[in-house]
Amino acid sequence: MCSMIDSDMPIINSKILREKLQENSIRIIDVRRDQEYQQGHITNAVNLPLAKLLNDDSPESIQKIAQDLGISNDTPVVVYDDTFGALSSRVVWALQYIGHKDVKLLDVTFSQWKDLGYEISTEVPEIEPATHSVKINPEIMATAEYLEKVKENKNVVIIDNRERLNYLEQHIPGAINIPYRTLATDGKILRTKEGMKTLLKNRGISEDAEIITYCGSVGTLSGLAYYALKSIGIPNVKLYVHSFKEWKSLEKPIDKQENANYWDLSAE
């Protein structure tokens, strides 16, 4: 079975997926809630509410989820959501973490797919359980301990993907802020490659850097950032999957933008 696109980019173009919709060998995962899924999904997609994965994201649990969804070691997988790609990123990442190779993020959300006029259905496909091995991919994951150890390294860049005000209020010392909203473009969950490269270039982030992304709690927003960076071929990216929530609970050091009442500028 051939891989779905020639490059090893973890992103798939919606047009290409559409052409391959009828290939039963592809497993398409819809990461919305069950109820939303029932009302219509991309044709042939199966449902995996993110909560189910987050409930227990140990490698064994991810393995079981994959098997239950009929995913074997070499099943091509495509994941989508309706939350600007953040939830699906987290699922793609989890599968890669347990060693799945051919898994890709759909470059549009479900709404955008619909806006394109592409096929949706309410039919729930039959799933044939499969077997999947676990071969952990440690280099794509960062722990608090690891982060703390490398954060002073010159070649390490830590990126906080939460919104600006949250970042100003508290963040991991040394982290820079790229809010997740910065990563999208009109009609797609990610910027163009050129746009992403410009953003990094303006910020003075070298593509050879080791980049660690984090967000508020479960690695969704930062998961999207992970794939935004991967989409332009940055080799060394890690997701600090348990993110700022864990960092705080471990009482690690925190930085803050002092002496300014920025929250009072918000109209929320």
Binding site: E163, R164, L165, L168, N177, P179, R181, T182, T198, L199, N202, R203, G204, Q257, E258, N259, A260, N261, Y262, W263, D264, L265, S266, A267, E268
Partner: protein, 600 residues
């Protein structure tokens, strides 16, 4: 809710002028890089940055505030949508409507500013010359073209001046910033508190009706404020450009470039004396006219905007939504065009979320027969050409989107500058205070009180007047006070400021601790109610009080001081710790300021 599915909407109206220049974005990115590498010095970079519309931010070099110019306040739906997106991508998810018809994005990472400029170019906007020693955003009354008291619509002239001055070499290195305001009538504009203020006039000359302006020069607010002087009885439109150029040339030549705190044109006017300055301008104009008449001309586009009521979205049978009468009374102004209204959207101190911006864009498309909106003078948005029959349905839409705050045209809509939320020079959180005052006023239904309607509250976070406190009926500027060994935010209150035909700067009355401001305002209103004449308004009454012309129990400012004295005495820290904290802060107050760059 009275919304129905409707046929596809007509395409967005397009602005007549593209203000952007894409190349500037790339240059900006390059220049930031050189600055970070230490190849450009701090001062030079700062000048460059301000020239391109990016201010510094409080206590940091990492962030900027991007000020997007909206000449004459005209803003189009797709531009609002773009700004919504930019605020989420590069700012705090909210944008700020300023008192000078700009839209500001705060806490932008300096390295991202060029991306904002790129995107602004996509929708024909610019931040160029929004700060620094340039001709700042050219303002025009949001009611120009629809005001009942106007003689003709100044908008095309405001746009023409903006177009002429933007990127013009004569405006790139002025001694200091330079402001133009056009208005419809005396009541709706602020023509006497800027360098050049213009009021439309028509005069019969040799049996012919000629368009022109009354021009006011040398006004301005700041650490020291002045009211502008009228140049001559009537300036015909043909002389508009020559007069403007003459004034700018004189300022450029003679303005004080050394003394940063006294280099606005108003100081020059004050130092020379009005008559001398006036003569200089008239002479200079003759020279400009003689030497340039063949080459320069304003590009004035007076072609009418298309007025086309969008397909009706109103359901006649819908019931009147709750609160409609109050909202209509305090936010809607009838236009000179029969059947049409200008709807004011009130914001808290000018702040609006990205989603609300998107809603405003949709609401403009659905309800405005002119297809765009105008930024107001009081940190608000004005949607004009709304048909009588559509007001109720529009109100429902505004409610759904949290945009139906009442009191826009009343004293309840307090203005507050950025203060400590982002400004380097701020001493207090004036921004939050304005929100607190507004919330209190609305809670007390003061917006419905006709006696209070024509009064204003404006608040600055330091003496620099960005909140325009001197022209407010009740104005405040921030500072620090001390009691025993503890500091607290302490505002100076001025009373009786006005910006109409007898413009007057407010009278400093007392220093009021921040947590006593609301009680003091309420006390003044109470005194007014007790002592007013039957047809008095608060503004009229305060005017008499500050001029010593009031004959009731309160005869002058001294009596007000006496009345509020018990309210403003500082308590012991132990008794009321909150007194010593500013709004938005849970620690004891102390003043911190960074390097100011209003003069840069």
């Amino acid at each position: 809710m009275a919304q129905q599915l409707r046929p596809s909407k007509p395409a967005d109206k397009q602005p007549k002028i593209d203000w952007s220049r894409r190349q500037e974005a790339e240059n900006f990115a390059e220049t930031v890089k050189l600055f970070r590498q230490g190849k450009i010095d701090h001062d030079m970079f700062r000048r460059y940055r301000l020239q391109h519309g990016a201010y510094g931010t409080r206590m940091t070099d990492d962030y900027a505030m991007v000020r997007i110019k909206v000449p004459a306040g005209q803003i189009y739906p797709y531009q609002l949508e773009k700004i919504a997106q930019l605020s989420e991508m590069y700012s705090i998810g909210s944008a700020h409507f300023s008192t000078r018809e700009n839209i500001q994005l705060h806490w932008v990472i300096l390295e991202d500013v060029s991306e904002i400029m790129q995107s602004l170019a996509d929708v024909g906007m610019t931040s160029r010359e929004a700060c620094g020693n340039t001709v700042r955003n050219v303002m025009c009354s949001p009611l120009s073209g629809v005001c009942k008291d106007e003689i003709f619509d100044a908008t095309p002239y405001a746009l023409a001046i903006a177009r002429f001055m933007l990127r013009n070499p004569i405006c790139q290195g002025l001694p200091r910033k330079f402001k133009f305001n056009f208005t419809c009538c005396e009541k709706h504009g602020m023509i006497r508190i800027v360098d050049v203020g213009l009021l439309p006039q028509i005069k019969e000359i040799d049996g012919e009706k000629r368009k022109g302006f009354k021009i006011f020069l040398g006004g301005g607010l700041g650490n020291r404020s002045f009211v502008g002087h009228q140049l001559e009885d009537f300036t015909p439109v043909e002389d508009l450009l020559y007069t403007s150029m003459a004034v700018i040339r004189i300022f450029d030549r003679m303005g004080d470039r050394k003394n940063l705190s006294r280099n606005r044109m108003r100081y020059l006017v004050n130092d020379l004396g009005w008559e001398k300055f006036q003569n200089l301008v008239l002479k200079e104009r003759a020279v400009v006219k003689a030497t340039q008449s063949v080459i320069v001309k304003l590009n004035i586009d007076e072609s009418a905007n298309e007025i086309q009521r969008p397909i009706s979205v109103s359901d006649e049978s819908a019931s009147v939504p709750d609160g409609f009468a109050r909202w209509q009374k305090t936010n809607v102004e009838k236009q000179s065009q029969s059947g049409f209204n200008s709807v004011f959207i009130g914001l808290e101190a000018g702040d609006i979320t990205a989603n609300q911006l998107r809603s405003v864009a949709e609401i403009i498309r659905d309800y405005s027969a002119e297809g765009f909106a105008r930024n107001g003078f009081s940190q608000n948005i004005v949607i004009r050409y709304v048909h009588d029959d559509d007001l109720k349905s529009m109100y429902s839409r505004l409610i759904e989107n949290g945009l139906a705050k009442t009191g826009s045209l009343t004293m309840a809509s307090a203005v507050g500058c950025s203060g400590t939320t982002s400004c380097n020079l701020a001493l207090t959180n004036s921004h939050r205070l304005a929100k607190e005052v507004q919330r209190k006023f609305l809670e007390l239904n003061f917006d419905e009180d006709d006696d209070l309607r024509d009064s204003t509250i404006k608040i600055s976070g330091c003496p620099n007047s960005c909140g325009q406190h001197q022209i407010a009926t009740i104005g405040f500027y921030g500072g620090g006070g001390r009691h025993e060994s503890n500091m607290f935010p302490n505002y100076t209150m001025s009373l009786g400021g006005k910006f109409d035909e007898d413009s007057m700067l407010g009278h400093h009355t007392a220093r009021v601790p921040v947590k006593r401001i609301i009680p003091v305002i309420l006390k003044i209103i109470e005194l007014f109610k007790e002592n007013k004449q039957p047809d008095d308004t608060l503004a009229k009454w305060i005017d008499r009080v500050v001029k010593g012309n009031e004959s009731s129990k309160i005869t002058g400012v001294e009596d007000i001081k006496k009345e509020i004295a018990p309210l403003i005495a500082p308590p012991k820290v132990e008794d009321e710790p909150d007194f010593y904290m500013d709004y938005g802060s849970d620690t004891n107050y102390h003043t911190v300021t960074g390097k100011g760059e209003c003069a840069a």
